[in-house]
Amino acid sequence: MDWEGQKLAEQLMQYFLLGSALLAFLTGYFTSSYRTMLYIYLAGVVLTFLVAVPNWPCYNRHKFTWLEPEYADKPSQRVIARQQAAGKKGTKSQAKR
């Protein structure tokens, strides 16, 4: 997921959970059934999982812009340091792992 998608997924998760809690409470209270409240909330939680967890295409609309791989041609700092150490001390030095 890209950044916008993650933000959207989190918002949808919160709205769906709070909304299903509210719906569950109202339904349960007006039918005088605690069990109904819990079932509706459970259904809402399952729905939230289906909406927010999988990597749906709507969460991938704002693609990441990766940098150009220009740094791959230069050796790393560690390699440079090792070459300098080998140049100063001659061939006796061992590469440190």
Partner: protein, 177 residues
Amino acid sequence: MYSWILRVNTVLTLSVTVLAALCAVASMTDGLHRPSPAVELKVLNVGPLERLRNGDDRIALTLSIKADLESVFTWNTKQLFVFVAAEYWSPEEGFNQISLWDTIIEKKENAKIDQQIKSKMLRKATRVGYFTYPFQGKDLRGRDFNLTMYWNVMPISGAFFTDKAVVPGFQLPISYN
């Protein structure tokens, strides 16, 4: 939220927290509920007052217990524990309570009680070593007592509480046999 595992974790945590809040709100709705129970307790027959050899007093009672506790049930009630007790005050000990009958009601449909039961009030003497306290055990003679029906309400979510209906004005025989 960058991986599905993380999203599962977040949804799960939030859903459990919201569930806790939901149950708390559900239990708070009990505060709006006003029950109107109807209770009728009568003593139909009083048996002879027996004096047992170990110092206890005992008497058999036949009670008529009628109650309509349907209005005590809310959507958040799991069960009621109902018991009928004979209560009296004595100067030596203060408040005394003897349980005569009890039942558990789990559904609102079963909340009407209409029973005639035979029960015994047993007033046990307290023994310390070989001696009994002289005023205990022998103090049922001529007692004025109340019959009180208590119901303990156990909610599905929330705090347990108890309520009662008092019917005063009963008396035990003045002498043994």
